[in-house]
């Protein structure tokens, strides 16, 4: 795997050399200036909107070329580790939990208002660890439900615990990022505050244990779980990501996403500049554009996400008064392995 990644810049170098040579042969006097090139690492799922919306706008404005490498957050982290000292990627779009790991390894260059002025317009809580990274768009987590099985959308997270849904509920594994809030939801239902239920998860675990008879399964593979929901074997999946559910709904699947009265959770989509990045000025400009109202306005709709720029309104389908909980990812990173251990023991069949 790593060989391939390391090989990539070389391949590009070869291509560049080849096109350079071709230009030389075609026109002996090189007229056009060398175009700058920026490599952005991100999730495979980001590829469509980055290439269709972000890249054309940015390339035109800054007269440069963007190469987007879509993979998984942990793979991006490994690329950055392996190329430390000679980075070829300049910007990285990863989940917050992985950003924390990258900060610990000293791989990120902090964002400052001087280099990315749009930082000033972000909602509170959108930058982390002294500006090491910022959230640009946040998919939100609610309860996904089968429209054919349920006549009314669930209005509270508590509905998932109702005994009449025996064997019809699916929740994500704690090892999936979208699965963590189930622990906090359970805590909130026992009367905790968002702050207290994240610090002390004991009440949450005890409440979750009462969900066991309702569980159809706990998934690690998201598409498999939604398959069950679309086919009517499962009736509710929660927490479920807006970016996934609403896209399936738009494609015609008989499912929808409800925003329960206790509030929804914001998923972490971070963006950062890599330390020692080539084209560092351009890298900060890219981050700045993604934090700006103009691009976020264009992106919030197609990605079914919340914008982090104050100037962008909340998306349709999410009432203006819905509470949006932010998760303390540093706390998650510190405690997650212990939570997974307890989860394995207490949620087992």
């Amino acid at each position: 795997m790593m060989k391939l990644f390391e090989g990539q810049p070389t391949r590009r170098g070869l291509l560049k050399a080849a096109t350079g040579a071709a230009t030389l042969i075609a026109a002996p006097s090189v007229l056009r200036a060398q175009t700058k090139e920026l490599v952005v690492g991100g999730a495979a799922g980001h590829k469509p909107w980055v290439e269709q919306i972000v890249v054309p706008a940015f390339e035109k404005k800054y007269n440069c070329k963007i190469l987007f490498e879509g993979t998984r957050s942990l793979v991006n982290l490994e690329k950055m580790q392996k190329n430390k000292g000679s980075q070829y990627m300049s910007v990285v779009q990863m989940d917050d939990p992985v950003m924390i790991l990258a900060v610990k390894e000293g791989l990120l260059d902090p964002l400052t208002p001087a280099k990315a002025p749009n930082l000033a317009d972000l909602l509170p809580g959108s930058t982390h660890m002294d500006g090491m990274w910022a959230n640009y768009l946040q998919p939100w987590l609610g309860v996904a439900y089968s429209k054919s099985a349920m006549k009314t959308p669930p209005s509270s997270w508590a509905e998932m615990f109702d005994p009449k849904y025996k064997g019809r509920i699916v929740i994500p594994s704690l090892q999936n990022t979208e699965g963590l809030p189930s622990l906090f939801v359970a805590g909130l239902l026992t009367g905790g505050t968002m702050e207290s239920v994240q610090k002390d998860t004991d009440a949450g675990f005890k409440k979750l244990a009462t969900l066991k008879s309702n569980l159809l399964t706990i998934y690690t593979q998201q598409p498999q779980a939604f398959n069950l929901l679309e086919q009517g074997e499962a009736w509710m999946i929660g927490p479920a990501m807006s970016s996934y559910v609403l896209e399936r709904k738009a494609a015609g699947a008989p499912i929808d996403l409800a925003a329960p009265k206790e509030g929804v959770f914001a998923m972490p989509s971070g963006i950062a500049v890599i330390k020692g990045a080539p084209q560092s000025e351009l890298a900060f400009a890219y981050v700045n554009e993604l934090l700006g109202a103009e691009l976020q306005n264009k992106l919030a709709g197609p990605t079914f996400s919340l914008a982090t720029n104050k100037a962008v309104p909340k998306p349709e389908g999410l009432g203006a008064d819905v509470k949006i909980h932010q998760i303390d990812w540093a706390n998650v990173a510190a405690q997650r392995n212990d939570w997974v251990k307890r989860w394995d023991r207490e949620m087992a069949i």
């Binding site: 090892q175 159809l216 399964t217 706990i218 087992a348």
Partner: protein, 278 residues
């Protein structure tokens, strides 16, 4: 004293395979074994002690062994008669059975697991069949249960039980059974005293194949039973891929390896004692 035995040059033919396996299997295995007994650069057995002193680890080990044994038994009971039929059949019938066994191997495990997900659902074929027969009073779901996992896994692994047994059975002289019959042996006696002992090497190979594959399967439990049922293989995968705990991952991988090797070696030794022919 000095007559060192000369090496048969034919053995050298195994060299390419040995070299290949040494590079792609032997070296990583040594690294894994080494890592499982090193803590902070010092040799130590503490990872194993802490793993084995946790009751949950024993649940995981028991899950692994129980499922692997059940899958192996199901494969043996379905596979042996099939292998027998295959060895006795001739011409077109044999070709058809062989195709029926081998063709499904070309379908990926993920595809099969997804197919079972549909079959084992509450409104799936199995549930409809059982309620239709009146054996179940109401539709039930087998999906995400141990029974469902065993059924699905046995489907994937049964060819690996049939083929070794078949390859042994087809070499058995059919006249041996006839001879026993001539001497007055009943069909049951003939089966247990003649056919079964002669086919033991095939059975042992089949058991070794299926048990080790069932004990180490990862994708099938992931899709058919999910996160609530941990086995050594799923725990190993999670330790490396998600928790980034290479120490725990190496430990569980080595426990799984020891377990599988013990069963394979043990069953081979047992067959030698029982059958004499191996």
């Amino acid at each position: 004293m000095n007559s060192a035995r000369r090496i048969d040059p034919v053995i050298l033919l195994a060299l390419p395979a040995v070299l290949y396996l040494a590079v792609v299997y032997g070296v990583p295995l040594i690294v894994l074994l080494g890592r499982s007994v090193m803590v902070g650069g010092m040799p130590s057995l503490s990872p194993f002690i802490s793993f084995l002193s946790d009751p949950f680890s024993w649940t995981v080990i028991w899950n692994t062994v129980r499922i692997a044994v059940l899958v192996t038994l199901v494969c043996l009971f379905i596979g042996y008669p099939t292998a027998l039929a295959l060895a006795r059949a001739g011409g077109v019938a044999q070709a058809l059975i062989l195709v029926a066994i081998i063709l499904p191997l070309s379908v990926g495990v993920v595809v099969k697991a997804f197919a079972w997900q549909i079959v084992l659902r509450r409104d799936g074929v199995v549930s409809q069949f059982m309620t239709g027969l009146g054996l179940w009073s109401e539709p039930q779901r087998l999906l995400f249960t141990e029974a469902g996992l065993v059924i699905g896994a046995a489907n994937v692994f049964v060819p690996f039980m049939i083929l070794p047994i078949y390859s042994v059975l087809k070499l058995v002289d059919p006249r041996l059974g006839e001879a026993a019959a001539t001497l007055g042996a009943s069909p049951l006696y003939r089966f247990f005293k003649v056919a079964l002992p002669l086919s033991l090497p095939g059975i042992v190979t089949g058991i070794a194949f299926v048990f080790s594959m069932a004990a180490s399967m990862y994708v099938i439990p992931n899709l058919l039973i999910g996160d609530r049922f941990q086995t050594l293989a799923t725990l190993t995968g999670r330790s490396f891929l998600f928790m980034r705990n290479e120490q725990l991952g190496s430990t569980t991988a080595v426990v799984l390896l020891v377990l599988t090797v013990a069963v394979v070696v043990g069953s081979a030794a047992l067959s030698k004692r029982l059958g004499g022919a191996s």
